[in-house]
Symmetry: C2
DNA sequence: GGCATATGTTGCCGCTGTCAACATTATTTG
DNA sequence: CAAATAATGTTGACAGCGGCAACATATGCC
């Protein structure tokens, strides 16, 4: 039952996920087809159904994997930071770097309906958000932000960085991927500076 | 030739667009099907091809219509503002209001590849962005922002508001639609305040 | 009235997601 | 170690989709 050992096609589930990631990057969500994934994995068009409930289930798995990569990208960027404020900005940089590097992946991660999916997907998303939240709390501890619930600050930071990434991917910004990543620095500074000099917004007391 | 008068089915093109908008709002991009649009308009599954080159062409037309509605929503919100800074914040509010009210529409507007589409689509998008850009310039004239190219400021403002809207639509924010719109106020203030107290970022000199 | 053209329909094609039935391989169990 | 059982993969089918071609009909122009 819990034997993860290879059967006919050694660890097909991972092969399918890998093929799916590549296909998504090449063809985008439109050209992403379950049958093509199976073709690339060298199995029949119905083999994926032994590992994923349906197409959406595969997409959710890819989204979860994407959130893990996003988390890793932010953590890698953070490592080079000195101050907490610095690290928060670098987290945003890591976010945008991942986004412009895997634009189609980001679509799947955020277009998928968040509710009613596998817990793996939800948890991976939480972990990514937690990086930002931790960064915010560190800045608060450093005195760079008002005390209180860190969530509103995290939402603003997330929104700014996410919006920049999405607009860049949509080709609506007047600069290319490299400059977009550079521009993230200014964006982070502006957002952080603004929140630092404004009173804490009470409303969102969520957990 | 230029006769827009009814033929068999008085002004089918508009009927199709209307049916398409409703279907999109109900079923989302996944359930959006050309044949269902035709069904709702009471015509055969191939009638739409006399008015739209293909499915993407219909989507582009809907996107253009969406940008017009977005522009209208921002302009309506702006009308109530006193200062230029106030009006800029209200524009963001109008943006988010439109987004949470027509979430599926926003997907089509920004997921569609911006390049290679009909000029109508590109122009409608430009007009929407112009509202933000004008707002930024007004704030600059008021002395609320550093002088110089307004584009970087507009990009930051756009990114923040767009990101908030997208995250809200994806169900990833800890508050509902109404509170999201309210939260836009704080977001705008923070962004504007931050940019006001930072030197002008030179890089994006685009036009 | 007659003709070209714009508009709408029918029929078809390959493709897709998904189900059911069958085949094969691994695991368990006596 | 062999038989039973579960896990995994294949084949075949179905309806629905986007899109093309051929056909039918309405409209405007002369």
């Amino acid at each position: 039952m819990q034997a993860k050992r290879p059967y006919h096609h050694a660890n097909l589930k991972q092969s399918l996920l890998g093929a799916a990631v590549h296909l998504l990057a090449e063809a985008g969500p439109q050209g992403f087809t379950l049958r093509e994934v199976a073709r690339r994995a060298g199995v029949s068009h119905n083999a994926p159904y032994r590992h994923f409930k349906d197409k959406d289930d595969l997409l959710a798995a890819m989204a979860a994997e994407g959130f893990d990569r996003l988390t890793a990208s932010m953590n890698a960027a953070i490592a080079e930071g000195d101050s907490a404020a610095d690290r928060l900005g670098l987290a945003g940089r890591g976010y945008v770097e991942f986004a412009v590097g895997s634009p189609q992946h980001l679509v799947v991660m955020f277009e998928t309906t968040v509710a009613g999916c596998s817990p793996k997907y939800a948890e991976a998303g939480m972990r990514a958000f937690q990086v930002l939240l931790n960064g915010i709390e560190a800045v608060q501890a450093e005195g760079g932000l008002p005390e209180g619930d860190p969530h509103p600050f995290a939402v603003v930071a997330w929104a700014a960085v996410h919006g920049l990434a999405k607009l860049a991917i949509a080709g609506r910004l007047p600069f290319d991927a490299t400059r977009t990543v550079q521009f993230t620095n200014y964006l982070s500074q502006a957002v952080l500076h603004g929140m630092a000099n404004l009173p804490h917004p009470l409303p969102p007391t969520a957990g």
